[in-house]
């Protein structure tokens, strides 16, 4: 009841015109970043992060939610029209959507993507409202050794979620942890790994890590492409004509797809979102595979089917709600956007966790409301009113786009401490992230490693202090045992069983 009142209050706060304008603004920014290939919602929030210093925290959070929801959907526009997913989460949508576009059924595909995104986003945010307070109550029961094992579980899932690049995922996570150990020790007033550089005593700020990882590395990646490559893609974009009615799905199509596809997609998306490091692209992939497995016409998948689009889009938008649950309840982000939203909270002096959910629920509730309203009202309304023009907007001149991104990123990293040293750190981390991305290292693992490392170390050292240095404490406390078993279960399903499944067909051959 208390939470329900809090959530209603959250909606009241959100509908204050001074707050609501930020959701709408965030939604437009998210749509733009989600639709332009190469740009993502993660990058948009990373660039906005420095501005949140001087913004009201509620405004900053609701704006992030608008960006998140819009960014997840908008990737499907270019995925369907020109077969270039605006965001990685739209990869599966491109497979089916663009085939439909080629058959002259692009309007149907766009309409279905919009509808499925709306369903996934709305139901995902309702599930968030139900699950987050419960998760926060459970989080209060976890003691120090359990917290250590929970973060260990997160690290294992983050690494294993990389599927083909587990070693690379592990290295990226470890590099993130190492970066976090630079500076003053978390429990004693002593510095470490400063290499004689005074400016490193304060440690590396979260801001340069986020901006370097997502903005500077993207700038360097994009600079590799020639203008002619970019213009060729733009030519395709400008040749597409989209009408307002294209974004309206027909009842007949919805019936044909079946309500279960939307429900399954949403649930898969939500629960994948809860897992650390998985994100929208994994959710879309799993949901798409499940839809194909249970479909009456699995052979139609890959040739342009609405069922595949519905499964992928409902799942990737439901991730938005799911990813917020562990971030708010345990301080463990579910994906890269949640990790940066966590940064917004930390930068503004708030510590995510059960206490935030109980004592400062009035700050969190508008976030829930913003996700819900973004999916249910702003998404369809924006698409209906402005949808036909989005495709023109994404064809923006790239020299203006990337020069602006570079300037916002570097000036943004300066304003966090008014020090040009932070700008230098941003550049160095950007270069590291660029090299890692070139070699298929998941940079989101680096960020999660950096964010979670201080807590991981603190809980480890406190636990060992409590037990007089005995690591057996992790095997005697019930909460710790629970998370260690959970880690083993995930390890079995994501690593061992997968390996057996891969090897079996080879033997039979």
């Amino acid at each position: 009841m208390e939470n329900l009142t809090g959530i209603i209050q959250g909606f009241v706060t959100l509908f204050d015109p001074g707050v609501f304008i930020y959701v709408v603004l965030g939604f437009f920014v998210g749509t733009f970043f989600g639709a332009v290939p190469g740009l993502t919602a993660t990058l948009a929030i990373a660039l906005i992060l420095p501005m949140t210093y001087s913004m009201d925290i509620v405004n900053a959070l609701v704006m992030c939610m608008g960006i998140y929801m819009a960014g997840m959907y908008a990737g499907s526009i270019t995925a369907i029209t020109i077969n270039i997913p605006g965001a990685p989460s739209a990869m599966m949508t491109a497979i089916e959507g663009n085939k439909m576009m080629q058959k002259g059924q692009g309007a149907k595909a766009l309409g279905q993507a919009a509808f499925a995104s709306m369903i996934g986003g709305t139901v995902g945010s309702i599930l968030l409202m139900l699950a987050a307070p419960l998760a926060a109550k459970l989080a209060l029961l976890i003691r120090t050794p359990g917290k250590f094992s929970l973060i260990l579980f997160s690290f294992v899932v983050v690494v294993l979620a990389q599927r083909k690049t587990v070693i690379k995922g592990a290295i990226a996570t470890i590099l993130g942890i190492m970066l976090a150990t630079i500076g003053i020790d978390i429990m004693r007033a002593a510095s470490r790994f400063t290499f004689g550089i005074d400016a490193l005593v304060q440690g590396i700020d979260l801001m340069p890590v986020i901006i370097g990882t997502f903005a500077i590395s993207e700038l360097l990646i994009q600079s590799e492409k020639s203008s002619s490559e970019y213009q060729l893609a733009n030519k395709d974009i400008l040749n597409q004509k989209i009408k307002r009615k294209d974004f309206l799905p027909s009842i007949k199509d919805i019936k044909e797809i079946g309500i279960m596809t939307y429900i399954k997609g949403t649930l898969i998306g939500f629960f994948v979102g809860v897992l650390p490091g998985a994100g929208g692209s994994v959710a879309a992939f799993i949901s798409y595979s499940e839809a194909m497995r249970s479909s009456k016409n699995p052979d139609k998948f890959g040739t342009g089917t609405l069922e595949g689009i519905a499964a992928a889009e409902s799942a990737n938008n439901a991730v938005c709600g799911g990813a917020m649950v562990p971030m708010l309840a345990f301080g463990i982000p579910g994906d890269s956007v949640a990790a940066i939203v966590l940064g917004v909270l930390i930068i503004n002096g708030l510590q995510p966790g059960p206490r935030l959910m109980t004592t400062q629920f009035h700050l969190v509730a508008p976030m829930f409301a913003a996700l819900f309203v973004s999916a249910l009202i702003i998404l369809p309304l924006t698409l209906y009113l402005l949808g036909p023009y989005f495709i023109k907007i994404v064809s923006i001149n790239r020299k203006i786009l990337y020069s602006s991104i570079a300037l916002v990123a570097l000036v943004g990293s300066y304003v966090s401490t008014y020090s040009s040293f932070q700008m230098l750190v941003t550049l160095i981390i950007g270069v590291i992230a660029y090299v890692l991305r070139k070699q298929d290292f998941p940079t989101v693992s680096l960020l999660l490693g950096f964010i979670l490392a201080p807590l991981f170390e603190k809980y480890l050292r406190r636990s060992l202090y409590i037990s007089d240095g005995s690591p057996l404490i992790f095997l005697t406390e019930w909460d710790s045992i629970f998370f260690l078993i959970l880690t083993a279960v995930f390890y079995y399903f994501l690593a061992i069983r997968k390996t057996i499944e891969v090897k079996t067909p080879k033997k039979s051959n």
Binding site: M51, Y53, S54, M55, I167, K168, A170, I171, I174, L175, I177, M178, T181, D185, M187, R188, A190, R192, F193, F195, I216, L219, L220, I221, S223, E224, S226, S227, S228, R398, K399, I400, Y402, S403, S404, A406, L407, V408, L410, V411, Y414, V415, Y418, S420, M423, L424, L427, V431, Y434, V435, K438, Q439, E457, L460, R461, L464, Y465, G469
Partner: protein, 161 residues
Amino acid sequence: MTKKKILEKINPTTLLSIILIIANSIYFIEGIRTAPLIKNDEIGITFFPFFVSLLLFITAGCLLYTGMREKTSTSFSLFKISRPIVIIVTTLIYVAIFKKVGYFLSSILYVFSLMLLFDDQKDLKNKKLLNIIFTIGIVLIIYLLYQKVFGVRLPIGEVFL
């Protein structure tokens, strides 16, 4: 062997894992030099980093093994990495002069350089004026956004004080 052929022989995975092992060795030695792992029966400040570093040695070793087993080496494309390198150097110069010459002058030079770098078309001469207009526009908009909307002070330049 020509430089190009040497570069083609380098396997990026192997090269990266060697760099990681070298960097990790520096980190490891710095940790050992800083403080003991356990002091007076208490966990020291380098206890946790010590194990993290060990883990990186193991994983980077695995990566090195994978890299050495790869039959086809992905060759570097000098053309592709030349522009990122120029951007890195340009950004480095921007960072170095940002506080000295102030936001406006440094940003105008930086944005204009990026405009030229991202614009590899033949009719560049005709676009000079357009690039200057865009540059001033971008710098001004971002100034207004930070300084006026968010109330952030941007440097006016130490040399002008």
